[in-house]
């Protein structure tokens, strides 16, 4: 039997220019002479920045799109053969990014049954397929649940089950983790890996490089072409080229690259565990066997934190006295309780929460889904009433409705996917919405909008009169940010500012936040990316079940890895790697927050070891 599962033979695809297609999008996402083969049972990853054509490629596998020229064979069938359409689609299941938009039914099992129903399976067989598919994604016990009550990760697993119920031999996933939190993404990743081990061919489209490390083969796309391909090891060795394509190699590969460029001789390693072993191996070579034993035995405990120099006191200590805080702190939250109703039950979102945000700081709030982060942001922005406790923002107590309303020009809030909230006919009108609501005269309105747009990197002359709907995703996010910045608030609050962005977009978004901070704004940011937090924040508050359970500098908070793990949170990759090194017997001086710092620390440690053995 033919071992190849999917064959692309010089495939090109052009989106038909239509009224709906904006100028920014025409050309983007097209395919230009793609040839590739995927073997039966393989795990293949396609990566590329937004608009590189990777989603278009995914939609060719199950004949949602057919090539303008060239041909695609899926399970040996030419996708242009419309008589075989349902065979192709049941053989190659497609899972999309947004789980909410993929579900047809209000009950989990009914949704999973949708495919088999369309394939005209007899009812007893449908029931069998539904159970089998739900079991495969570990959602069996949720069969009678309403999808609205599931987490994003659970929903996405139900979507995978919906495709599995057609008993496909190929599973195509188009950025399945882009809208999920870390935990949800991990759950989906595990399920996909298990399915692959059970024999299903997997084509995973993603921009999370760490996911690509598990693939057998990686295709990197750029402008509709395959720019790089090979094993993860081969592809990721092109660190510079990937960077030029707006992508980043996985952390361990970048670290290896940094270390090699600092003069260490390391083998190529795609996985963190391999690299940690290799680095520790370097140490072992330099040490006498006895010294190595001592190093391991002498340091069984986590590295003692040698008085993290830049943090004399934790700036976000939860119980700082409010009297002195009023002048120093932009936000003071004391003993706040917040409840809302859901499905007839009372849910306590905040349960005696206390925290402070120092003026001019970037304070990150972390916690898994349901820990109360979003409620906290809305509370601070004056969007929900203070039910119990005290909230003081910029010196104003938010107990009264009038105080909360006055807050709107002083605190700006940027929700998740803010570009989805654009509404006006022109970019200028959208950005000017805030200043106009503040009843400024038209001259001031224009000045405010212009300043905000320029700050967000949008040239006023070029963008002001364009429709926000004609812009690219990245540009639209900038417009949305400009709209919030336009009233010149002192405090800016961000909910997951990098959600759904590709690496380039993430970098740009973080850059904009840093720019606002440099202008003296106080920033509060909710994020589930520990690396974003490590890069941005100078204070971190950890929420769990509506309470602040830790607060301090990123270095202090992230050093408490056990406690973080207990509330389902991770560490920045650099610190995680330092931990691996410790287990291998290589203890670094101070826990590093970022990659260059980690590389420096490793080099310094090895050099010290070297010096020691000489002396």
């Amino acid at each position: 039997m033919d071992k190849t599962c999917v064959v692309f033979d010089d495939v090109s695809y052009q989106y038909a220019p239509s009224g709906q297609q904006s100028p920014a999008q025409t050309g983007a996402g097209a395919l230009d002479g793609i040839s590739l083969t995927v073997e039966r049972g393989a795990f293949v990853v396609v990566i590329g920045h937004n608009g590189s054509g990777k989603s278009t490629l995914a939609r060719h596998v199950n004949a949602l799109l057919v090539p303008t020229s060239g041909r695609v064979l899926t399970a040996g069938i030419d996708t242009r053969d419309r008589t075989q359409l349902f065979t192709i689609r049941s053989q190659a299941g497609l899972v999309l990014q947004n789980p909410d938009a993929q579900m047809v039914a209000g009950v989990v099992a009914d949704d999973v049954a949708f495919g088999p129903e369309n394939l005209r399976c007899p009812p007893p067989e449908i029931a069998e397929r539904v159970e089998e598919a739900l079991g495969a994604v570990r959602m069996g016990e949720w069969r009678a649940a309403n999808p609205a009550h599931l987490s994003g990760g659970q929903k996405q697993r139900v979507c995978i089950a919906g495709v599995l119920a057609m008993r496909p031999s190929i599973l195509v996933l188009d950025e399945p983790g882009a809208m999920l939190d870390v935990r949800g993404r991990r759950g989906v990743q595990r399920v996909v890996k298990e399915l692959n081990e059970a024999g299903i061919t997997v084509v995973l489209v993603t921009h999370f490089m760490e996911e690509a490390a598990h693939a057998e083969r990686v295709f990197v796309m750029d402008r509709g072409k395959i720019a790089l391909q090979g094993s993860p090891r081969e592809v990721f060795s092109h660190v510079e080229k990937l960077r030029a394509l707006g992508l980043d190699a996985p952390f361990s590969v970048r670290l290896a690259y940094e270390l090699t460029s600092r003069g260490l001789a390391l083998p190529e390693a795609a996985r963190p565990s391999e690299l940690a072993a290799a680095v520790a191996g370097l140490l072992r070579e330099k040490e006498a066997p006895g010294a190595f034993e001592r190093a391991v035995v002498a340091n069984p405990a986590p590295p003692a934190n040698p008085e993290a120099p830049e943090n004399p006191a934790s700036p976000a200590a939860p119980a700082s006295p409010a009297a002195t805080a009023a002048t120093v702190d932009a936000i003071v939250v004391e003993d706040v309780v917040f409840e809302y109703r859901s499905a007839g039950r009372r849910v306590r979102a905040l349960d005696g929460l206390s925290l402070t945000v120092p003026r001019g700081s970037v304070t990150a709030v972390i916690g898994h889904t349901g820990s109360g982060k979003s409620t906290l942001l809305q509370l601070v922005a004056g969007l929900v009433p203070v039910q119990a406790g005290r909230v003081v923002v910029g010196g104003a107590d938010l107990a009264s409705k009038a105080a909360r309303r006055r807050l709107h020009t002083r605190v700006g809030i940027v929700f998740q996917y803010p570009e989805q909230q654009l509404f006006a006919r022109t970019v200028f009108d959208d950005v000017a919405f805030g200043p106009r609501n503040a009843r400024l005269d038209e001259g001031e309105v224009e000045a405010g909008a212009r300043a905000a747009m320029e700050l967000m990197g949008l040239d006023f002359g070029r963008y002001a009169s364009r429709s926000p709907f004609s812009l690219s995703g990245g540009e639209r996010r900038r417009v949305a940010l400009a709209g919030v910045v336009a009233t010149n608030p002192e405090i800016l609050v961000f909910d997951e500012p990098t959600a759904g962005l590709d690496p380039q977009g993430c970098k740009a978004a973080l850059g904009l936040i840093e720019k606002l901070h440099a202008r003296g704004k106080t920033i509060v940011v909710v994020s589930h990316s520990m690396d974003d937090v490590a890069q941005l924040a100078d204070a971190v508050v950890v929420l769990n079940r509506g309470k602040a359970i830790m607060a301090g500098s990123p270095r202090e908070v992230f050093a408490r890895s056990e406690e973080l793990r207990a509330v389902n949170l991770g560490q920045p990759l650099a610190m995680d790697f330092a931990e691996r090194l410790r287990k291998e017997g290589l203890v670094l001086e101070a826990p590093p927050l970022g990659l260059p710092e980690l590389a420096d620390a490793i080099v310094a440690r090895l050099a010290a070891e070297n010096g020691g053995s000489h002396g």
Binding site: L119, F415, T487
Partner: protein
Amino acid sequence: MVDVVLGSYYPGDSVVHRLDARVKLLLVLALLVLVLLAQAVLELVLLAAFITSIVLSARIPLLTVLKAVLPLCFLLLFPLVFNALFTPTGAPLFSWGVLSVTDEGLTRAALFSSRLFLLFVTATTLTLTTSPITLCDATAALLSPFERVGLPVGEIAMVAGIALRFIPNLVEDYGVIRKAQLARGARFARGGPIARVKSVPSVLVPLFATALRQAEDLAQAMESRCYHGAERTHYHELKIARRDLFAAGATAIIGAALVMLKVLL
């Protein structure tokens, strides 16, 4: 943070949940007719007892049922007031200008509103115990004779089911958009009617844009799962079981009892 109870399904495994949806739909329709025809207090009491026993055997918390019915109760207000104030016959209890409240008026108002209340409870029990998609399937099955005259019954049922499924999502999106604009100083609840109408597009445009984007994804997901309109099989096979016959029998007996009451009284 969204909670839409109206028309939303309360999953369960009771006899009422497991009734064949076509039978359930027909019986509910029959029951609604009986309630509308009931005139005397005794008839209503009988029906109320029957409907209560249905709700109890559905094993849904009474509070959930009441919460689902409550939003409809403002509809009771108008007939209640109308009947109470504008019934000319009967002994006047007290009068106020041209308006007078008579004992007969009060009785009528009470009867009328309890009839409406029973209607609401019956309909709500149907939607609470039947998932929207099953309800759509059942409606489609009952309407299937019309397919011969060219009515795309299956497609209509599918569209209705999906609309129901997306309502909570839209409510949530609406909440976020509104809050984002409130934070930018929008005044939704303030200003005259013109200011209010003016503020509508700023919420509806992004809401529609989001809905359209989701619709595009949904279409692709449905196509990917081989949806092709006509000729599907159904997971929940509609099959008549003994419990369906029992339910039909019970409803028939109640109906007969009501007719007897009408004849005898």
